[in-house]
């Protein structure tokens, strides 16, 4: 007992020590991240899920997880990719692809400032770009990218959301050529592209406006110009050696690779003049209609390609040391920060100098026919000895930059004008991207910086060989960066953006109006609930409302039939979804929002009576929200029948 007492006294003593006793965390850290019950966070943080293929939504500063938005991967929890309505979202020219690797986030902007309308994400594996509507937090559009081997430098966005881009990480033989070539003919046969995807300013709909055909390098990351550099886009690229094997060694031979400068206004002129070449390709374009509550997928057959060999003054290469990764433009648009993964310095390029070098033709030869700007002529300066392995840079609202250092696991704060290092903090461990609220825009909101780490080792309770990856929140409101919170993330938190909550929350949809439901299988009330046979298909038009289904007793299904449950949630009340599941379905559940219709396909595998029920705890009588469906032998004469509340006993 005395031990316990001593321990308690000791704890009391430690807990009351004045500030300064702890090394890494300041005493007020807890207060800075504590969002009291019932209070809202200040920022939404949209975090890519990396290899999970999804996007997750956190609150900042609390680090609380609000939602995982299914984007490129199926999600049985929400029925995404399982319901008949959502399956077309994951269609590609390769057929149904149920997974991808979502690396980067781009929030829509107006005049270079977050407008809270959409968030875009890239599919790195089977090249795709997705758009999520921030009114509903749902993936509403996915477009596949032709002539691409993997969409990494994407979906970065221009300052009025004119375009999001898609640069191929892997160069490949182009889609309209015979791709059956020896891999070691890389230099002859492999090419790269960057695609400009036009965003419709009203609807947000995407459409590949043009692609630029480029040498077979690896495009890595990119950023649009803004302000004075609006109209330009910058893409980092590595493997200017054009190696096709052991890139670890073979693409690191040269002292400098490139940042590609694209004058996209010039490209637009060429497009308007009909200078592009239409190429026959195949790529899927999937759209989710929020009135019909269903997706359609169409296969596009053509893309416009601009070749810089024929079209001058459109693209330039800018030398950048040692396999550049990050390529970030500062809030003014004057400075472009290149981060060579293997470089000992951080070069900062000047847009004004780039323009002058182009005007004066201050070239250092060409690379595959594209002019190379002389390094010294475009350089604003270099940040010396910043750390090891610079990757990505974000900006605050005070003219400072924050660069992540993968190898030395730290974040370095430096001043853009003076190039002086101002502060550095360790991260735990192996930091990738950073996010400052508004950091990539013309108007950084500052206040916080979040580091997204690849390795957590001892940061959280162990969970076997695989550990959660993590985000770390730093207070950057003062001169010194202060670590104030660790929080685990979904998948790999590759890149993220943060936006003031009010810009998004004010538009959030609460319900879908049942009278506006245009789903072809809707039942807008119990009177429309029915079961219909069409050959071997049985269509159940079902309604759900607290706390029953109509119908909830169904007979007349035969083994060999394909049953479609078209379930309409008649609720018109915020946050009252109903779920639907049937025993033995080789499928997921449905999760149906108020006013929505979703369809589950079921192929019964045996004769019998199968329970079905509501899976989302909806009400006090949720457990009573159930029904039965009877499956008879093939050729049975049991007629189709259905009912709810019929208690008449069998005669």
């Amino acid at each position: 007992m005395s031990t316990i007492l001593m321990t308690l006294i000791l704890i009391t003593f430690i807990a009351c020590k004045p500030r300064g006793i702890q090394q890494a965390i300041s005493a007020d850290a807890a207060g800075k991240v504590y969002v009291a019950p019932g209070k809202y966070d200040e920022f939404y943080n949209f975090v890519s899920g990396g290899f999970s293929g999804q996007m997750s939504v956190y609150g900042i500063p609390s680090g609380r997880l609000f939602r995982v938005i299914p984007v490129f991967s199926v999600d049985p929890e929400k029925g995404y990719g399982y319901s008949e309505e959502t399956k077309p979202m994951l269609n590609t020219s390769h057929g149904f692809v149920p997974w991808d690797d979502l690396h980067h986030i781009a929030l829509s902007v107006t005049n270079g400032i977050h407008d809270g309308r959409w968030v875009f994400g890239n599919g790195n594996n089977t090249p795709r770009v997705a758009r999520i509507d921030l009114k509903t937090f749902r993936t509403v559009e996915i477009i596949e990218i032709p002539n691409s081997g993997g969409n990494h430098s994407s979906p970065f966005i221009t300052e009025n959301s004119e375009y999001v881009v898609a640069g191929t990480r892997f160069s490949i033989p182009m889609d309209d050529t015979n791709g059956d070539v020896p891999i070691n003919t890389y230099k002859q046969n492999f090419r790269g592209t960057v695609s400009f995807i036009k965003i419709d300013p009203a609807s947000g709909n995407m459409n590949i406006a043009f692609q630029i055909l480029l040498p077979g390098v690896n495009f890595d990351l990119s950023r649009a110009g803004k302000g004075k550099s609006h109209g330009w886009f910058f893409f980092s690229c590595y493997n200017s050696e054009r190696a096709n094997t052991l890139l670890e060694v073979n693409s690191s031979q040269k002292d400098k690779d490139f940042i590609l400068c694209v004058n996209w206004k010039k490209a637009e002129e060429y497009v308007a003049q009909g200078k592009g070449k239409k190429q026959v390709v195949k790529y899927a374009h999937n759209m989710y209609d929020e009135k019909k509550h269903m997706a359609t997928s169409i296969m596009e057959k053509e893309v416009l390609v601009l070749d810089p060999k024929d079209l001058a003054d459109m693209v330039y290469f800018m030398p950048c040391p040692k396999s550049p990764h990050g390529c970030d433009t500062d809030p003014t648009g004057e400075f472009i920060v290149g981060s060579g993964k293997l470089a000992a310095i951080i070069p900062v390029f000047s847009f004004t100098k780039i323009q002058k070098a182009i005007a004066d033709k201050t070239y250092d030869g060409d690379y595959e026919g594209i002019p190379v700007l002389k390094y010294e002529s475009v350089l604003h300066g270099e940040v010396l000895k910043p750390g090891l392995g610079p990757l990505h840079t974000e900006f605050d609202d005070n003219g400072n930059a924050y660069t992540s250092m993968f190898v030395s696991s730290e974040v370095v704060k430096w001043n853009i004008q003076s190039l002086q290092v101002l502060d550095r903090v360790p991260t735990y461990y192996s930091v990738g991207h950073l996010s400052v609220p508004g950091g990539p825009t013309k108007k950084p909101w500052g206040k916080y910086m979040i580091a997204y780490n690849k390795i957590t080792k001892d940061r959280f309770l162990p969970t076997g060989p695989e550990l959660a990856q993590s985000a770390q929140l730093y207070d950057i409101s003062g001169d010194k960066m202060k670590l104030i919170l660790d929080f685990p993330t979904i998948g790999e938190p590759h890149y993220a953006e943060a936006i003031p909550a009010e810009l998004v929350s004010k538009n959030s949809v609460k319900i879908y109006k049942i009278e506006e439901n245009q789903n072809p299988w809707v039942a807008k009330g119990d009177d429309f609930a029915r079961v219909e046979r069409k050959g071997n298909e049985v269509h159940v038009y079902m309604t759900s409302i607290r706390s029953h289904f109509v119908p909830d007793n169904i007979e007349g299904v035969r083994l060999g039939d394909v049953v479609y449950f078209h379930v309409t949630n008649l609720e018109q009340d915020w946050d009252v979804p109903h779920g639907f599941a049937v025993k033995g379905a080789n499928n997921a559940e449905l999760l149906i929002m108020p006013g929505e219709t979703q369809t589950l396909m079921w192929k019964p595998d045996r004769v019998g009576v199968f329970p079905m029920y509501c899976t989302d705890f909806c009400s006090a009588l949720h457990q009573e929200m159930q029904g039965y469906i009877r499956v008879s032998v093939p050729g049975s004469n049991v007629p189709i029948s259905f009912s709810t509340g019929n208690t008449t006993p069998v005669q």
Binding site: I9, K32, G38, K39, E42, R546, V576, L621
Partner: protein, 186 residues
């Protein structure tokens, strides 16, 4: 030992008051959600269909009932997911009670009685008027039962109250009745 333990804990709370009870420094930056301390009834939502409480509040014929629901602290419960069937006596129905009854029930000391009466008007599940059949009995939230009489297309409850209108709500249904239902005496 327990005493000592409690004492130590108490000391700990006391001694740390200055450093631990301070409010979060970023407090002003945080937006309070509307329902912060009040419960579901305070959720700001102009898009959803009205729940049974909001339907009652919007009815000029149910001001007494609404006052009683508030006094009985049943607003949040009835704003919950339900589903509820609420038999809602009109103001006229309340005025048919012996003089002074309503005023007496509104006294704080009579809150339990008021709750008992109001809960006798509510059952969980959404039951449309057509569901009620002659001779049917139904368990109510307070634990007692009501009986139904059906004649000439009209539904009567406990031979005293007639359903004069039915209004669907997001979390159930309201049947407007012309008399107050009194639970059987204990």
């Amino acid at each position: 030992m327990k005493v000592i333990y409690v004492f130590v804990c108490f000391m700990w709370i006391l001694s740390c008051k200055n450093s631990t009870v301070q409010s979060p420094s970023s407090d002003q930056a945080m937006e309070a959600s509307p329902a912060m301390s009040e419960g579901q009834a305070a959720v700001k939502d102009d898009e959803s269909m009205k729940d049974v409480v909001k339907v009652a509040i919007s009815s000029p014929d149910h001001t007494t009932l609404v006052t009683a629901i508030k006094q009985a602290e049943l607003v949040n419960s009835l704003s919950n997911a339900g589903p509820f069937t609420v038999f809602a006596p009109t103001n006229d129905a309340f005025s048919k009670l012996p003089p002074g009854t309503v005023e007496e029930l509104m006294k704080p000391a009579k809150k339990a009685d008021l709750q008992n009466i109001l809960q006798y008007h509510v059952t969980t599940s959404t039951l449309k008027a057509g569901f009620f059949k002659e001779g049917m009995t139904l368990g109510m939230v307070n634990g007692d039962h009501v009986s139904f009489q059906v004649a000439d297309g009209k539904v009567r409850i406990n031979n005293t109250a007639t359903i004069i209108a039915s209004i669907p709500a997001s979390n159930g249904i309201i049947h407007v009745i012309d008399a107050v239902l009194l639970p059987p005496g204990k």
